[in-house]
C-alpha cells in the first residue's frame, strides 16, 4: 500500500473511475435540466421523476424479456447484448414520451404565467409522480433489475499500472487449487456418509483453504495498482459519450438544433423569426427526458441500484446542482458539472482516510463547491454572467 498521510494513492485511479461513472449519470440528467432551462427558464423539478420512471421502464422491459425475479430465482438465464439495447431504447422512448406529456399537461398552460407559479407546478408534478408512482409501481421490497440480464457481468478490463508481485500471484493460484481440492474432499466425505467428526474436520480444512484463496485473490487485486473496469461500466461510458456526441450534432448541425439555440437565446424574437416555438419546446423536453431515460437504465442495470418511486430525488438534486455549477442553460457546462460532481463526491469518500468521518459530508461538499463557484462566478463555470439590464 502506498500510504501517504493516511491516504492510499494506489486506489486513487479506481476512485476517479468510480467518480466518472457516477458523474456521467449526473451529466445525462443535468443535460435535461439545462436544456429545459435554456428554452423555458424553468427549473423542471419533475425531471428527477422522469429519471425514476425510466428506471422502472427498464425494469419492466427486463421482466418482459424473461428476467423477472420468479424466472431467474435459482436458474441461470442466458442473455445477449440485444436485451440491453432493447432496455435502453425502451427506457429512452418511454421517458421521452413522459417528458412531452408533462410539458403538454402541466407546463404549456403555464407559459405566460409568473415563473414562480411554473416552479410550484413543477414541484407539484414531481410530488404527484413520486406518490402516484408509489401507488402503482412495485416498490416493496425494492425491486432491482436482475444482473443476469447483463451477459458481460463477469468480464472486465484490467488496466495494470504496476502488477502485483510474481510471488503472491503464484501463491494465490496455488491456494485456489488447494481450496478446490479441499472442497471436493469435503463434498465426497459428505456424500459417502463419513463420520460426523471427520466431515467437520474436512469442512474446517475446506473453509480455511477457501479463506486463504479468497484473501490472496483480493490481495492480488488490491496490490495490482491500476484499474478494473467491468465491461458493463465501459459500455456505459461509451454509450454516454455517444449520446452526448449525438446531442452535440443535433444542437449544432441540424435545423432543429439551430431553432433550439435561437429559442434559448431569445424566446420572443425566435417566434417572430418564424420558429415554431411550441414544437421546439416539445422536442427539447423529448430529448432531455430521453437522455435521462438512458441514464436511468444504466444506473439501474450497470450500477446495480435498487428501484423505488423516490429513486430520482437524490440524483435529480445532484444533477440540478451540476447543471447550475456548469452554468445553467449551457450544454457543455452540464456535462462538465455532472462529471465534476461525481468525482468530487467520490474523492470525499477517499479523503475519509485522511479526515475520519469526512465521508458523511459527501452530499454537502457538492453544495459547498456550488456556492463557492457561484460566489466567484455567478454564472457558473462555463456560463456567461450577464449584467441584468434595467
Amino acid at each position: 500500500m502506498n500510504l501517504v498521510a493516511g491516504l492510499d494513492f494506489s486506489i486513487l485511479p479506481q476512485q476517479l473511475v468510480n467518480g466518472l461513472l457516477l458523474g456521467s449519470i449526473y451529466a445525462l440528467i443535468a443535460l435535461g435540466y439545462t436544456m429545459v432551462y435554456g428554452v423555458l427558464r424553468l427549473i423542471n423539478f419533475a425531471h428527477g421523476e422522469v429519471f425514476m420512471l425510466g428506471s422502472y421502464a427498464a425494469l419492466f422491459t427486463s421482466w418482459l424479456l424473461g428476467f423477472s425475479p420468479e424466472a431467474v430465482r435459482g436458474v441461470d438465464r442466458p442473455s445477449t447484448w440485444v436485451n440491453l439495447v432493447v432496455m435502453l431504447l425502451v427506457s429512452m422512448i418511454v421517458c421521452g414520451l413522459i417528458g412531452v406529456l408533462i410539458e403538454f399537461l402541466a407546463y404549456r398552460p403555464m407559459r405566460n404565467q409568473p415563473r414562480i407559479a411554473s416552479l410550484i407546478t413543477a414541484i407539484g408534478v414531481s410530488l404527484f409522480i413520486q406518490y402516484a408512482g408509489g401507488l402503482f409501481l412495485p416498490q416493496s421490497p425494492p425491486p432491482a433489475i436482475s444482473e443476469q440480464v447483463n451477459p458481460y457481468r463477469n468480464e472486465k478490463v484490467s488496466i495494470v499500472l504496476k502488477p502485483a508481485g510474481q510471488e503472491i500471484v503464484a501463491q494465490a493460484a496455488d491456494a485456489t487449487k488447494k481450496a478446490a481440492i479441499a472442497e471436493k474432499a469435503y463434498d465426497d466425505a459428505q456424500k459417502a456418509g463419513a463420520p460426523a467428526d471427520k466431515v467437520e474436520q474436512l469442512r474446517n480444512d475446506a473453509q480455511i483453504a477457501s479463506n486463504d484463496a479468497s484473501r490472496l485473490q483480493t490481495q492480488v487485486s488490491s496490490q495490482t495498482s491500476g484499474l478494473v473496469i467491468p465491461y458493463g461500466q465501459l459500455g456505459m461510458l461509451i454509450t454516454t459519450m455517444v449520446l452526448m456526441a449525438v446531442l452535440w450534432f443535433v444542437v449544432q448541425k441540424t435545423k432543429t438544433g439551430r431553432a433550439m439555440r435561437a429559442v434559448a437565446h431569445d424566446f420572443d424574437s425566435a417566434a417572430l423569426m418564424g420558429v415554431n416555438v411550441g414544437r421546439i419546446i416539445t422536442i427539447t423536453f423529448m430529448i432531455g427526458s430521453a437522455l435521462a431515460g438512458a441514464g436511468a437504465m444504466m444506473y439501474a442495470t450497470v450500477l446495480r441500484t435498487p428501484l423505488s418511486p423516490f429513486l430520482g430525488v437524490q440524483p435529480g438534486v445532484k444533477a440540478f446542482v451540476a447543471a447550475v455549477l456548469g452554468g445553467i442553460g449551457n450544454i457543455p457546462g452540464a456535462v462538465l458539472g455532472g462529471i465534476l460532481m461525481g468525482i468530487v463526491e467520490t474523492l470525499v469518500v477517499w479523503l475519509d482516510g485522511l479526515v475520519p468521518g469526512l465521508s458523511g459530508y459527501k452530499d454537502a461538499v457538492a453544495f459547498v463547491v456550488l456556492i463557492a463557484v457561484l460566489l466567484f462566478r455567478p454564472g457558473g463555470l462555463l456560463g456567461s454572467s450577464k449584467v441584468e439590464k434595467v
Binding site: P141, P142, A144, S214, T218, S221, R304, V349, S359
Partner: protein
C-alpha cells in the same frame, strides 16, 4: 426602522409579562409534574446517547429500570391492542409481514372465543418507517385507549415509541428491535427477539471459530441505531477473541452507490466483511463489491432477512451468512402449526422472520392479558406485571422467558446461509455459549 423596533420590543415585552403572570398562576402544578418524573430525566440521557454507540448497555441487569408513573388504559370490551408497523417506506416488507403475523394471532384467539369471552381488536397505525411518525402513531393509539402496544421491527422507531409508552404507562412489546439499550428506558418494555448483545458475538464467534476469519472490515449504516449498535457489539466481541478489525466504512440509509466505500475497504485486505445494515442497502453493497473484485465472505445480522436480498444482491449475496431468529425448516410443532396457519390464511410462507415474531408478539401480549384478567387486574399497569412474569412462553421463534431479564429474553440465534432460493440453516447458538455472564 426605529419605530418598528420600538413597537416590536413593546409588543414582546408585554407578551412576556402577560405570559409570566399567567404561568405564575399555573406554575406550581407544572413544577410538581416536572419534579415527579425525575426518572424520565435520567433516561433521556441514555436515549440521547442513541448514536454514540460506545454507551450500548451490555449489562441490562446492572441497574433497575425506571417504572412508569401512570397506570395506563383499562382493559375494555373489545380488548384493544395497538400495533405500530411500517406500512410504507423502506421497511414495508417487514411491516407487512409483522401485520400479517399479528393479525393471524389475533384472529386465532378471536375464533376460539376471545380472551375470557372478550373479543380482541388489533388497531394498526403506520410508522412510515420513520421514528417521528412512529412516535405520533404510538401517541394516537394510546389516546385511542389501547391497553398494550406492539411494534416496531426497527430499533430507531421503537426507541421513540417506548418514550411515549413509558409516559402513558402502557406496556410495549417490541417485535424485531434488537438494539440492547432500549430496554433500559423503562420497565414497561419487553421484546420477543434477541438483542444485539447476542447477535454481535454470535456472528463474531461464527466468523472467528467457524469460518476462521482473522481480520474483518465493517460497513455500518450510520443512520440506524440498530446498525451502529450491532457493529459495535460485533467489533468488541471479535477483538476480544483475538481478531482484528481493519476498517470501518460508514454509509447512510437510502444511499445507492457504494463503489467509493468499497474501493477504500478493499485496499485494507480484510478476510471478511461484516455488513450490519438493513437488506435494502446490503443487496446493492454485495453486488457492487463483487463488481469491484472483493470476493471475501460477507456476514450480517437479522437486518438481512428478506426474500428480496437475492434479487438486489444477485450471485454476489449467495453463499454469505447472517444471523436470524428462526427458520422455516425447523420441525418444532409451534413452527409447523404457524406455517400451516399462515398458508391457510395468506398462502405461501412468510417472506421474512417478522411474520413469526409479529405472531409471537401478539400471542405473548394476549397471553399476558388473559393472565391479568384471571388475576382480576384491569389496568395496563397490571398487564406490565403479567408480562414481566412470563416464563417459558412457547413462541414460534423459541421459548420466551421475560421474568428477571429486564425485558430482554434470552433466546437462541441461528446462523443461516443465503442460497439462490432462500436461506439454509447452518448453525445454532444458545445464549450461554456466547454471552458472558
Amino acid at each position: 426602522m426605529v419605530k418598528l423596533n420600538k413597537t416590536f420590543a413593546t409588543t414582546f415585552g408585554l407578551t412576556a409579562a402577560l405570559a409570566l403572570g399567567i404561568i405564575g398562576a399555573s406554575g406550581c402544578q407544572d413544577n410538581s409534574a416536572a419534579g415527579g418524573t425525575t426518572g424520565t430525566a435520567g433516561t433521556t440521557g441514555a436515549t440521547a446517547g442513541g448514536t454514540t454507540a460506545g454507551t450500548t448497555g451490555t449489562q441490562p441487569n446492572a441497574s433497575p429500570r425506571p417504572t412508569p408513573q401512570k397506570d395506563g388504559a383499562t382493559i375494555g370490551d373489545p380488548i384493544k391492542i395497538g400495533l405500530v408497523a411500517s406500512q410504507n417506506g423502506d421497511l414495508k416488507p417487514w411491516g407487512d409481514d409483522n401485520i400479517k403475523g399479528s393479525q393471524l394471532a389475533v384472529d386465532e384467539v378471536n375464533a376460539a372465543g376471545g380472551i375470557n369471552g372478550h373479543q380482541v381488536k388489533l388497531r394498526i397505525e403506520d410508522s412510515n418507517s420513520t421514528p417521528e411518525t412512529g412516535k405520533s402513531a404510538a401517541q394516537k393509539l394510546i389516546s385511542d385507549g389501547v391497553v398494550g402496544l406492539l411494534g416496531e421491527v426497527a430499533s430507531g422507531i421503537t426507541q421513540q415509541m417506548e418514550i411515549v409508552a413509558f409516559d402513558a404507562g402502557v406496556p410495549l412489546v417490541a417485535i424485531g428491535a434488537t438494539r440492547t439499550d432500549i430496554a433500559t428506558l423503562g420497565s414497561n418494555f419487553f421484546r420477543v427477539c434477541y438483542t444485539d448483545d447476542l447477535q454481535g458475538p454470535v456472528m463474531a464467534k461464527f466468523a472467528y471459530d467457524y469460518l476462521h476469519l482473522k481480520s474483518m472490515a465493517i460497513m455500518t449504516d450510520n443512520k440506524q441505531p440498530y446498525s451502529v449498535g450491532l457493529s459495535e457489539s460485533f467489533r468488541k466481541a471479535f477483538e476480544e477473541m483475538g481478531g482484528k478489525i481493519v476498517d470501518e466504512q460508514k454509509y447512510q440509509s437510502k444511499e445507492t452507490q457504494f463503489s467509493s466505500y468499497i474501493s477504500n475497504l478493499k485496499s485494507k485486505n480484510p478476510d471478511g466483511v461484516f455488513l450490519s445494515g438493513y437488506f435494502t442497502e446490503v443487496g446493492p453493497i454485495a453486488s457492487q463489491m463483487r463488481t469491484a473484485g472483493v470476493t471475501v465472505p460477507l456476514l450480517g445480522g437479522d437486518g438481512w432477512d428478506s426474500s428480496e436480498l437475492i434479487t438486489s444482491g444477485g450471485d454476489a449475496i449467495v453463499g454469505n451468512y447472517f444471523c436470524n431468529h428462526y427458520n422455516n425448516e425447523e420441525t418444532r410443532p409451534e413452527v409447523q402449526k404457524f406455517l400451516a396457519d399462515w398458508k391457510a390464511k395468506y398462502g405461501g410462507v412468510p417472506g421474512t422472520t417478522m411474520g413469526a415474531l409479529g405472531y409471537d408478539g401478539a400471542k405473548l401480549m394476549m397471553d399476558a392479558i388473559k393472565r391479568t384478567m384471571d388475576a382480576k387486574g384491569t389496568k395496563s399497569k397490571d398487564l406490565i406485571a403479567a408480562l414481566e412474569d412470563t416464563v417459558d412462553f412457547p413462541g414460534v421463534s423459541g421459548k420466551i422467558t421475560l421474568k428477571g431479564h429486564s425485558g430482554n429474553p434470552p433466546k437462541r440465534a441461528l446462523v443461516v446461509k443465503v442460497t439462490k432460493t432462500g436461506q439454509s440453516f447452518v448453525k445454532a447458538y444458545e445464549p450461554d455459549e456466547v454471552m458472558k455472564k
